[in-house]
Symmetry: C2
Subunit: 277 residues, 2 copies
């Protein structure tokens, strides 16, 4: 539905598909752990083409939605009147068990020119480095959730500065929302229960070959690029499984439909340019 | 967790809480329909203060999560080991029934200087005007979902231009993501099954006293302000129920923690300034 202008790939050199494309990726050295996918990229493409399917898609049939959460009766996959989509519907009370994308919220925490990363103590991707992030809870804001996750995973108090990136990852049913943040008093951090260690990395020392998720790799590459050019942008895009890639392909994920909002005014500093609050 | 810098209110004059606050609201003339709330604002504030509660919060107890969707056994509200939050957990198979915020995606469609609105044919807020928007589906991107909703509600093909606003509405467990969009060929529109009528409004003629939702009212006010100043910003914030407001209070909802990213470069046109694609 929106133009495919940046066909950035995880593996190999960046392709220039548009004269205005300004983001360049070096190869992903490694995509180190497997990800449980909701769908293949062909199913995803079929879905986005908005044609009603004759049968429930395979990924929907794989969701374990067997019983009604309200009354406990069995659910059936059917298309309610007037709906284009297949739904899990209760034959007894009529409850519809909708499945919606989940929000993952997190922070890119900067302190004295370095970036805070957490080494994961839990699967998936145990032992690899990530930005502090996790599922948003009901009854909190995205920014509050991002700060909470940073507190839980890194025992770090932060001041959220501005939204930095929104990544849709349809293949796992998630949307990532990441904020720029500054370490706040008392400027300390340590490993929370889900982390093995927490450390500050200078831009040159970020362990790109030991990052947990493609979303983290993509975010950090853009962040470093923005630091180099001296202006933070606000990024939006879709992270997809590349067609034909194998489950353990290091470049299996790629960014498409990348929109980078150029911010006006000042240079890239911790205080942040162009943010009216 | 983030600074409360813009204490914008739905009712009465805008308050200036910061010298850098640049957004002004006229009073909401009307907030015409009631909204099913997940929590009171005091529960919400308690939650954001990140203190573990001794009992499950009332809003969580009100969620009808009685039976395990996997095995059909009864669920219990408890705090799993190591978790700060109360969860609905299956006593039989261990499944945890998480409840997460839902994404609502939509478009601000501009055509020849006018903005497309839909008059709702369904509850809530039947008969009132809204931006085309709806729940994001699994297996699509936010931008694709926003275009799909516009197609379904207004039979309008659009070209998504750029992200415009992200609003968290914790009290109803939703996050709104709205894009700027341009009407695309064949430049036609008509009422879809959920709309009574669809129309283009000049900025001066937008029916602010007949809008369905506070999120729509807030978005359109900022959009008109950006049109006036000649530069689109990217907006992020939290829409909350004002403390002490009654359920049918026309100014019950207010924007807080408003962050407006000033975009660089060109003036506000349909093609959009400062967007790298
Ligand atoms: Zn039922
Ligand atoms: Zn169970």
């Amino acid at each position: 539905m929106i133009r495919h202008l940046s066909g950035l790939r995880g593996l190999g050199c960046a392709r220039r598909t548009s004269a205005r494309q300004t983001v360049h990726f070096r190869p992903f050295p490694r995509a180190p752990c497997t990800t449980k996918l909701m769908s293949t990229e062909s199913e995803s493409a079929a879905h986005e083409a908005a044609s009603p399917a004759a049968d429930p898609p395979a990924w929907l049939q794989r969701i374990k939605s067997n019983y009604c959460r309200v009354c406990g009766s069995p659910l059936k996959l059917l298309r309610p009147d007037g709906e284009r989509e297949w739904r899990h519907v209760c034959g007894s009370c009529g409850y519809v068990d909708y499945h919606n994308p989940k929000l993952v919220v997190g922070c890119i925490v900067e302190h004295e020119g370095k970036i805070l990363l957490c080494r994961r103590a839990i699967e998936p991707c145990r032992g690899l480095w990530t930005l502090p992030a996790g599922f948003m809870e009901l009854n909190e804001s995205t920014a509050a959730g991002a700060a909470r996750e940073t507190w839980e995973e890194a025992n770090a108090a932060v001041k959220v500065l501005a939204p930095y990136a929104h990544w849709d990852i349809p293949v796992i049913g998630q949307a990532y929302i990441l904020f720029r943040a500054a370490l706040a008093p008392p400027y300390t951090f340590s490993a929370g229960p889900e982390s093995l260690e927490v450390a500050l990395f200078s831009p040159e020392s970020i362990p790109f070959d030991q990052l947990a998720f493609s979303s983290v790799s993509i975010t950090l590459r853009l962040y470093l690029e923005d630091l180099r050019t001296g202006t933070f942008r606000a990024h939006h895009g879709v992270i997809d499984k590349r067609p034909g890639s194998q489950p353990n392909d290091p470049g299996a994920f790629a960014l498409r439909d990348h929109m980078a909002l150029e911010l006006g005014g000042a240079s890239a500093t911790a205080a942040g340019p162009g943010v009216q609050q």
